[in-house]
Homo-oligomer: 603 residues x 2
Amino acid sequence: MQQHPDARPGPVTTGPIRGSRKVYLSPPGHPDLCVPFREVALDDPHSPRLRLYDTSGPYTEDAAAIDLAAGLPAPREAWLAARGFEDIEGRAVRPEDNGHASGERLVAPCPARRRLRRGRPGQPVTQLEFARAGIVTEEMVFAAHRENLARTAASAEELQRLAAGESFGAALPALVTPEFVRAELAAGRAILPANINHPELEPMVIGRNFLVKVNANIGNSALSSGVAEEVEKLVWAIRWGADTVMDLSTGRNIHNLRSWILRNAPVPIGTVPLYQALEKVGGDPARLDWAVFEDTLIEQAEQGVDYFTIHAGVRLAHVPLTVRRVTGIVSRGGSIMARWCLAHHRENFLYERFDDICAILRRFDVAFSLGDGLRPGSLADANDAAQFAELDTLGELTKVAWGHGCQVMVEGPGHVPMHKIRENMDRQLAACAEAPFYTLGPLTTDAAPGHDHLTSAIGAAMIGWFGTAMLCYVTPKEHLGLPDRDDVKTGVVSYKIAAHAADLAKGHPAAQAHDDALSRARFAFRWEDQFNLSLDPDTARAYHDATLPKEAHKSAHFCSMCGPKFCSMKLSQELRAEADAGMRAKAAEFAESGGELYVEARS
Amino acid sequence: MQQHPDARPGPVTTGPIRGSRKVYLSPPGHPDLCVPFREVALDDPHSPRLRLYDTSGPYTEDAAAIDLAAGLPAPREAWLAARGFEDIEGRAVRPEDNGHASGERLVAPCPARRRLRRGRPGQPVTQLEFARAGIVTEEMVFAAHRENLARTAASAEELQRLAAGESFGAALPALVTPEFVRAELAAGRAILPANINHPELEPMVIGRNFLVKVNANIGNSALSSGVAEEVEKLVWAIRWGADTVMDLSTGRNIHNLRSWILRNAPVPIGTVPLYQALEKVGGDPARLDWAVFEDTLIEQAEQGVDYFTIHAGVRLAHVPLTVRRVTGIVSRGGSIMARWCLAHHRENFLYERFDDICAILRRFDVAFSLGDGLRPGSLADANDAAQFAELDTLGELTKVAWGHGCQVMVEGPGHVPMHKIRENMDRQLAACAEAPFYTLGPLTTDAAPGHDHLTSAIGAAMIGWFGTAMLCYVTPKEHLGLPDRDDVKTGVVSYKIAAHAADLAKGHPAAQAHDDALSRARFAFRWEDQFNLSLDPDTARAYHDATLPKEAHKSAHFCSMCGPKFCSMKLSQELRAEADAGMRAKAAEFAESGGELYVEARS
């Protein structure tokens, strides 16, 4: 059979982020665990190397040897092998899995093969079940060290910050221990999405008492994108800090495309199985049924998808509540299920079959991301009856899933004006018993298409501060088109900023260290350190060089913003020197010397 | 004398914003007043034309005939002529006003000449004095109509929104009357910056009970920019929504450069006189004195500058409080005055001479922008003793200036984590008796140089919601270099978003109408309306066309983000049609028809 030209993705972006080095460090007592960090070496001999959270996977290693066809190394393989899961053949791929694509139109699957597993009844399978059993898994140890940014102790300064922050009831620890991760998972306050068929995963935890996480969406639509483009989007998104990635592909070749993504993904991958199920029935929501949905869940769970968005909260009785909205139902999954409910005038079958769904997800430890199919699509519809009716249903389903041993997070809006954001967080915590909240934005105005990464970063920072565990990014192309590579980077960086701003406001013990290091570099005119410590070093450097390209300017005591004579930092530095030496004495001396303020521009 | 090549600025950007039309409307009973609005005509016959606040001046008229050498029309001339001010010759320009530039290095002044005026003792001169005297000026009537977006009545819907918002003690009226503007000015809660020598001004009001405003900074530094570039930056900044513009030029030709800007500025222009004073003494802070500063105040006041940043709050006793900071003093003016205080070990002469400064500003109605010379330059320094000590001094000076009949706003930070923003607003309101707050950002993290328009838009939206009256923009080049044209647009649009998000959250009666109109256009797939209603129509259109360039797609019921089969809006529209027709009946009918969901892509 002839292969689609896209079958073998072209080379993806590799190599370290400029000015940083990928390092792997082991948690105390676990020399076998290699936890990744982005290490920035500073010019200042007095400043220690700063270690930042690193989501980028092996792609940013110094000599990254990437073979997409072979897939990434599988750090979890040994851990999983020891857990006595059932080995399975796995479901055979069917033509409809790839939209009946054939010949040139068929994308070949990723050749990388992994041992397929399934949990047995009775044994602990999910991280929640292990946590409840009091078992600290390797994944928990790994995630804990990651959260600490390799710290093994908290400084007095950090404890002070923790006390100074406002966490709205979140209980951030000074230092995250594996036991703390276990306890948070057991309580349902956090999830550790890690499908037992995703051994390539570098484990991470999502919860209100941990660093705020960011998700990036990729995926082709019927109108665009091929395999190479999608895998590069994954690699590109995690390079800039995406903690998880959702593959929202539709159209043909969904199954094979996903195989390339999963085998090369060091981060949890999420999907909306409903999209593929709809493809299998020719795109007609009315023809959806449990059989095709169940088949799709198993297909994707065996592939290793780490979390599924399930729109089980869109109940028949909720649909009429949306009819008078300004923008109706804006969730794809929500509109599909609402359509199904109306077509059959029956209760949402995802709601009726929720126990069966739980049973499948538990066997592979696929976490639930309970979809907010009725989220508002405009400020006018924010916090309305439809939205909160669904939220209450999601709370009910959260407890059902917990009863099956499944991990759960809950999706949230959307479009919400600033003064209505807090209510979303408070209601979710109450309705869903503190299960992690995973919000899209929210956008704080509808009036700026083309800049919705920013309209939404405002709301994302706020709701992250209030307690949202993970923020789903929005790119500048939102509402307008499919994001390209640059849009993905802009979206991810904008959301890393929102998440980090939230961590700082919550008083996260380690978050402030990053800002302080950059601020000290700024005050000391260590330009290289300023660039390298930025969440986006390339852009910081490029903007500086746009006006002062010369190497000499990398140590100049000014930039083109104010020029040499008006640089407040320069003046302020001299001020400090004088003050330190005693103001009065200096004042006299200064008068005599007629203190020179000029700095020669080296240009 | 040979002229500098930049003497006559090249053509600036003119013509309407795409999809909008500049209209002038008169307030009831004032047919002589022409208040500008940006009018967007919608494709939907059922939707009224939307009128948006318009800061762009005559430059966006259909057939804009701009002659920079002649300057803009002077709508205020007749009003000012009737007030019995003293006609003056004005101070003669001196070589040091332009940094002793001569020959080819000298930029020729703008040839446009205006009648020069000065207020007499005893007569009302400032808008504050008129307001206190119970006189409603033309400027107040003009500004009121502007605030109402040409509304002459508030709808029930608007009143409902007003009640639903959270304004943190602000008292937004359903409709702004000229009398309300007068009362707010008289109370010192708002300012109407309008130098009596700036007749070209289109009056606007800055206060907590009005729309949140945005300032853009322009100005050359020693290392960059010429006249043409600066005037175009002004025109470009107001085109995208800058309500006021500060000229922060340093180096040579400051005086002549400013003459081009003022004669062509329909918005209030602010400056920091200290910068020019420093140039006059060769850049050595220690050589600054009252004589050179007084001369500079008069020079700039006669030119028509509408507000001055005065760093009188940096007192000698405050300086030691900054010594242990992570980033010391980051305000240019603050560091210059701190340097002066140390050099002479004397109290800040701007503080000691504050009464004299007030006397000068009153004569021309130059508003005070009390500078926060000790604002924090990093999150680590936020809300510290130095910052709040200065704020208390600014509160004291506010009352002194009011005693002289001067209008006052107060500048604020800077770099502040989200959880410390609210305290800034509350303390300013208390310390400064509700005088308008004018903040820079604040940036909510220091860790993203290259994206500080976004790190700061988050803080700006929040503090705007809490009560800040005007937000000073930050561009992507902040901390890195001098912003270019694109950076200015990105900065302004980002801050219009922040200001608008704040208006929405405060429940401003007219703000929501804009978002609703755009959301309805979005739901109805009126793509042209979506683009045209955006705060940045060009970018919205360009992003859409990047994937769906064809004209046919401007009416397509999908975009490339989801493609035709997965467009939730499309599904949702059909849903509404069904629900309206009665769910049960439809359900049966649908089953028979096997309801077609596909939409043919027209590409």
